[in-house]
Structures are given as C-alpha cells and as structure tokens.
Symmetry: C2
Subunit: 373 residues, 2 copies
C-alpha cells in the first residue's frame, strides 16, 4: 500500500488550479474517473454519468463510474479513488462531484432528497430530511436541557466564514438574533439551521505521493480515509443521538493516522443542519455526549478557537450540492493546509479532517489530510 | 497487487452457496459492500442503497456504497471490489447487484432506461434504447448486406440454453420461425431480438486467492478485469458499428491475462439486443467487422461450438435486471468453470470471459476468469 496525495483541485463557480490543470493532466495520464452524484436520476433524467462526464471533459476511453452514498457520496468516492491509487491499481484518479438541484420544484427536490432515508418507512410516512433533523434536534434539546438559541453560534460561525469565500452561496453574515427570528421549517429546525438546495461541482486529482511533486508544489496527502455505515432508518438506531457510524469512521481514521482529536487543527464537518454539527463533534470525540452544543457558545468552533469548523462557510453558507459536498469539504481542508484560505486561514493548520455524512447518519466517511512532507 | 478470487455466489430466485454462505461469512469478515443498481432513484424512490442493504443483510457498520454505470454497473462494481482486494485495502468484499423494474408502467421503465443514453440529445428526442439498437441493427444490415433473419441464431441459442437454467425468466425454446414472426418493436428490432424488463438480484463474495481455499473448494480467480468508456451518444462515435470501448476493455483484459480470443472457452456477452451480441463478438476479436453475425448460422456460438455464448440464456432469456446483470454473467461463467453448469456445461471450460455493456456501448467492463490453481 502506498501513500496518496491530492495534486489538483477545482470548484465552481471559480476554477482553481495548482501547477497543472485537470485537463492538461487528463489528456495524458488519468486512469479512472469517479463521478459523484446523488440525484441525477430523479432530478435531471440522466444516469450513466461516468461515461457522460468522461467524454465531456476529454477523457473518452478512461474507466469511469458513478458512485452514490446519498449526501456522503463525495467522500465515499474519494475513498474509492484513494483505494485504487493506494493499492497500485491506478496512478491518476479524478474524483468529480456534481449536483444540479435547482431546475426542479422545491417539493420534488425534498422528495428526491428523502430517497436517502428509508423509503418504505420514513419517506413513505412523510418524513423529509428537515423533519428527521427536527426529531433529532427536539430530542437533543429535551434530553440535555438545551434551548434552540444555543445552536445559533453554529449558523453564525458558518455565515461569518462564508464572507471570505468566493465560492460560497451565502457570503453574508447573520446574527444570533437573525437566527432566533428565522422562518420555521419543521419545529424546531428553522431556515438558519438548514443548509440550502443548490448546484455545484468540485473535483480533485489523486496520485501517489511519490509522483505528486511533479505536479504540485504542496501536494496534500490523504493520511487516513475510513467509511462506516449505520441503520438507514433513524428509528432503528440504538441511540438516535449517537452517530455510531461517525464515531466508527472517525475512530478508524484516527487509528490509521495514529492521532487523536487533539491533533486536528481544522475540521470540515457535515453541517447540513445545526444539530448534525453538534452530533458530529460529539461522535468524533471533541465533546462528551450532550455537550457538543456548548462548543459553539464557548467560541471553540471559530477560526482561532480550539477546533475550527466550517471555515469556508460549511454546508450552511457555502452551500450543500449534495453529491458534490464531500469534495468541497476536502478542497477546503486542502486550502487550509496549504495556507491558501485567505482571510479564513487557520494559523499553523497542519492536520485537517473532513467528515461527510449521508442520510441522518447512515453513511459516514472521514478523511484526515496533511501537506505531504 | 495480489490475486483475487470469488468464493461465494448467490442469485435469485434460488440462492446458491458454496462452502460458506454469504451471511455466515458476512457476520465476521466483510470489509465492504458494493451495491450495484441503476434505477432505484427513478423507479423505487430509494437511493442510499449501500447503507440500506448493509443493514438489511446484517452488515451494519461496514463500508458500503452504490455504484452505477447504466447496464454495465454490475461488472463495474465487481471491478472496484477487485481493485480493493487486489490492492490490499480490503480482504472480503461483497458485490451485490439488484434491480426491481416491474412495479412501474412500461413507458416509465423505458424512460428510466433512456437515462443511460445522452439525456439532452438522445432521450430528449425520443430515442429509447430499443430505438438506438434499431439504428445500429439497420445500419449493420445495410452496410454488410445482412437480413434480419440472420440474427435469429442468437435469440434461438439464448432461449435454448435458458431451458436448463432454473434462474431464467424465459426457460423455453424458440425457433428461427418464431424469431422472424415476432412482434415488431422498433424496426428492425423485434420482441425476440430484445431482452426483457425484469427483476433480479445476484451477489459474489471476493477475497484474496491465498485465503480463498478456506472458504471454497474451487474458488474462481479473477484473472483480468478491465473497464473503458466511449462517447455516451451514438452520434458522437467515429464508427457506430465499432464498439470501441468493448475493444479497448477486452484488449486490456487479454493483455492482463496474457491470452488471446482463441484461449477463451466460454463467453457471457451482453446480448441486450441481438445486434449487441454481434458487435461485442466483433469488438472482442472473435470475428472481423461485419462477419460477427455469421458466427450464429455457423453454430460457433452454441455450447460445443467455437465460442459458446449466453450459455445460461443470456440477457435475452435468463433476463436483464439491468444493474444486476453483470453479476449474473460472472456467476454463470463461474458455474461453467466449476463444472456446475449442468445440462449447459461447456466441456473442458478453463478460461471464461464476461463482458458487461452500459448504454449503447459507452461503458464496457470485461472480466476473465478461471478456477484458481
């Protein structure tokens, strides 16, 4: 098994390139293209994205597939790219996430997103993802004596950090008062608890670290990559407030990287809803069960805090184009580690983590990154 | 890179188990589950099949994703399982294909299948997959002076071989006269040129060959696995009658296995339509361009012939549950190599090949198998 690094990144609306562009590289060297997407069948009338995109970007002939694991698709595909390169079955793999949600009526998008839940038991009974998160949030508030406003710092922090990000959908600040006054969607989840429906695309290029220096001055090494699953239905969990797959996946990643949560300098977590941020922080060992929400009010999650999260706006304010999100997260960690995060730079960020979650916690993929030495 | 073998198979309606069942094995050892499916989003209102199936079959916690490459999904996912095991990133991988098409009205299924074509240019203009294959067949007939009835042996052979297969959807024989008289669907493609809409599921368990003997007396080794793509749209091909991705994928597989077409004893090809069988045989080097159709009338494709195809009924008569098809094909080759094909046994079958095709030839995955020595 060999070391794997990211040597190129690109994200919409503005492409970013390191020393070589994806297309330059693509023409000669790419062995495989893994396209990441959740909803093209339901919303765009198009499957077979592997062949579609490989032809479109000038990679005709290359091995190509689509990989789907709901909102956790991005990191799941990144992990398969990592597996191919680490195992020496491929040298150059492009992992490209894309989601186009906004051409459809809102209720159709909500129904399509509900396909990430258990269709027969959850979606069938009208439980949308907002509703599932509302159940989680209400239970958390009840069990730990927490008020809705205690979640405000997660939304405020995400929006503040989006201001400096040219790729963010909502690059504007909000206050705790804005949060408390926001329109209710599914009590207690309101508009500012929730990530938006949107479009986006982002891609990374992977290759063996030993070759990476020919293509990038500061390749970003994948130090750990681990995936785990839990029951797809919330009602089947042993404890709905414990994201077991997040704990399992993070635990495996810590173990692969031989680090602890204390070693993580920046953490791009899956803040599809504020409650998800809290549960993810707890599952990954940054807070005890029932205490994660207080990392917000204590300032721990801010840039400069103990464990900075959503440093470029997160799913909440950068946006959540579901299949592509996991790739955006990894790119943002890479920018932090390469000292390219501009006004949002976390000082001395050496070790970064991204956690991508599918469904209400059924698929979780954790990636730990550092600049290749 | 290490050697990889299949140590367990199962297919609906009747499960088959070698020395250990999938579930027995699953309980302790499985590292990853790759679920293969094309249409669950469009037809079943369910995505996130990795988490869904892993929980359902008792694999909660395990890494799981869905892999899609239209009708080529099965072998594409098998290949990713092979990559993970060969590269030593996993020891035991289950690759499970499933497709449930029949709960939906026929026109909805036809529209869903068209998502494997270029939605913007082909599906948008009303080109279904039958229509795309009709264009190919008509062009072939025109270019090489071939009559429709010359394709009859492919359908007759598939149906004849299905008679001995307890898993086949149409286990009954048809004659060349039946073929010529069959109902027209999209001229010149008629009902007996075409594989049916249906449901099915099939799974294989992969592990390193060095461990395989603990689980199976005759593990089947994956001697080669290669994938390639072509343009998704038929009108973008250099020559519509040359399946370039099939040639590329087979060429890579021959090269990996260090064999030639002459060494292949049994070939499970992708006979979604009779014309596809012909083009696949030509692309894989069993006949010159424009001559593949004559392998039918010469008896070459029959059990006992030079290159037996669709030995258990193929897509035409065993059935074509699209996402699962590639797994059925590999299982049928495995049965041949293990001398377990009953009345359909190809004598002295040592080297078997399966070719799984997505779209009108945009994704092609070729697998070469043999009993592990």
């Amino acid at each position: 098994m060999r070391d794997v690094s990211i040597i190129g990144i690109g994200q919409t609306p503005v492409a970013e390139h390191w020393e070589k562009s994806l297309k330059e590289l693509a023409g000669e060297r790419v062995d495989a293209l893994y396209v990441v997407n959740m909803l093209s069948g339901a919303l765009n009338g198009q499957e077979h994205l592997g062949a579609l995109i490989s032809d479109w970007v000038g990679l005709r002939g290359v091995e190509a597939v689509k990989i789907e694991a709901a909102c956790g698709s991005g990191a799941a595909a990144l992990r398969l790219g990592y597996v191919a390169v680490a195992g020496e079955l491929a040298d150059f793999v492009v992992v490209a996430g894309v989601e186009k949600m906004t051409d459809n009526p809102g209720d159709q998008v909500t129904a399509a997103l509900a396909m990430a839940s258990d269709a027969d038991f959850e979606a069938q009974n009208g439980l949308s993802f907002v509703a599932l998160n509302a159940l989680l949030m209400r239970r958390y508030m009840h069990e730990f004596g927490v008020r809705h406003r205690d979640f405000a710092p997660f939304s405020v922090n995400a929006h503040k950090n989006a201001v400096g990000n040219p790729h963010a959908l909502f690059p504007h600040a909000v206050t705790a008062d804005d949060f408390c006054a926001a329109k209710m969607i599914a009590d207690p989840v309101n508009l500012l608890d929730s990530s938006p429906v949107c479009d986006g695309a982002a891609a990374v290029v992977l290759c063996p670290t030993e070759l990476a220096r020919s293509f990038a001055t500061r390749p970003v090494r994948i130090r750990a990559s681990a995936a785990a699953t839990d029951t797809i239905a919330l009602h089947d969990r042993r404890d709905p407030l414990t994201l077991e797959a997040a704990a399992l996946s993070a635990g495996k990643a810590y173990s692969q990287a031989r680090v602890t949560p204390r070693d993580i300098d920046v953490f791009e977590l899956h803040d599809a809803f504020t409650i998800m941020s809290v549960l993810s922080l707890e599952a990954c060992g940054f807070a005890e069960r029932g205490r994660g929400v207080h990392l917000g009010s204590q300032g721990d999650i801010a840039i400069g805090g103990r464990i900075p999260i959503t440093t470029m706006g997160g799913l909440k304010a950068r946006g959540h184009p579901v299949g592509a999100t996991g790739i955006y997260q990894v790119i943002e960690v890479a920018l932090q580690l390469r000292d390219q995060a501009g006004a949002n730079q976390v000082r001395d960020a050496r070790l970064g983590m991204a956690q991508n979650i599918g469904g209400s916690g059924a698929t979780v993929v954790t990636t730990i990154l550092e600049v290749a030495q």
